[in-house]
Symmetry: C2
Subunit: 199 residues, 2 copies
């Protein structure tokens, strides 16, 4: 996917990579991370009453909480727990939506180690219940984003477990996935792909 | 709803209330809290591949994390955040499921202050998207549990905002809700009510 400056010149992310100041400036204008872009997108869907999709809070095991007088409780000791589901879920036109978003710096493939066994199990469970389940994959070096149905991810995961390659090749992502353009509002319009594939 | 001892004698929760030891013993056998009962129920649905429904993690604002060498990251300062959704959601037969579970010690009504404006907003949003959305209400003094469709809750909420009563009367809960029996596996079989009402 090509991004262009207003003068028509193609925007090259390589320029950004070696210039921290520029990176700060450009990314500061259009959203720093994939997670932020997706959160903005979900907020847009919510405000426009298109869909209700939220990121789940980070699971934390709380060990020690201090309750000072006249002020809010302070958690003094807690640990990150492994999530038992994917990060995002919600509803669109009555259907259950469930997805995970991941990035890689790799240029030629998407490593499957980005996913955990329990996330794969959860996606498999949701697919069995007839949910709309997918992953959003970002190749950060070229800022390309793809929508990949969980059924394909599960196939690649099974191939890995059978001793096959530990990643999805870029070409496979292009073949089985659907490119997601970066826009202004919404930033990553994944509902458009859902409309095309499932409705 | 009546619970009976094996000898047929009716189980009276009043006896338990004044005897901490007995409370410990009896509740220890059948689940301490409504939340635990629902989590056990959801685990049962998951294992039996009936439905995929999870409790969302408690939202926490993490301020300070310590990364000691060779051990897990420790969260040293964090605060509880208000949730922007209900506590439970997931999928059953392709349909989106969303609910909140609340308890009251009141005997004659269920106070609406148990719900927050943002939870009501979220339920209203989900209802518009044609989700299966409801609350599980427990009257703890009699251990009665009801399933109430969110549409009714929204009506009572509107009545409150229009200057009406600040609670749902017990009789209204009985009229518009559906009693949920406490069982062994699953403990609170709310899918049975969903089957009856929405499929």
């Amino acid at each position: 996917m090509e991004l262009r400056y207003p003068n028509g010149k193609v925007y090259k992310p390589q320029e950004v990579k070696n210039n921290p100041h520029l990176k700060q400036r450009i990314y500061g204008n259009r959203g720093m991370t994939l997670e932020e872009d997706i959160n903005e997108t979900n907020l847009y869907y919510l405000e426009q009453e298109i869909a209700v999709i939220h990121k789940k809070p980070t699971p934390v095991q709380i060990v020690n909480v201090d309750y000072p007088k006249r002020s809010a409780a302070v958690i003094k000791e807690a640990y990150f727990k492994q999530a038992s589901t994917t990060d995002y879920n919600g509803i669109y036109k009555g259907r259950y939506i469930d997805f995970e978003a991941k990035e890689t710096k790799n240029k030629t493939s998407f490593p499957l180690q980005n996913f955990h066994e329990h996330q794969i199990k959860h996606m498999s469970d949701c697919v069995k219940q007839d949910g709309i389940c997918f992953v959003i994959l970002r190749f950060s070096s070229t800022d390309e984003i793809y929508f990949l149905d969980a059924k394909h991810l599960l196939t690649f995961w099974t191939r890995k477990n059978a001793g096959g390659r530990k990643s999805i090749s870029k070409q496979e992502v292009e073949t089985y996935g659907h490119p997601l353009a970066i826009g202004f509002r919404p930033r990553i319009d994944y509902i458009k792909v859902i409309d095309k594939l499932y409705f």
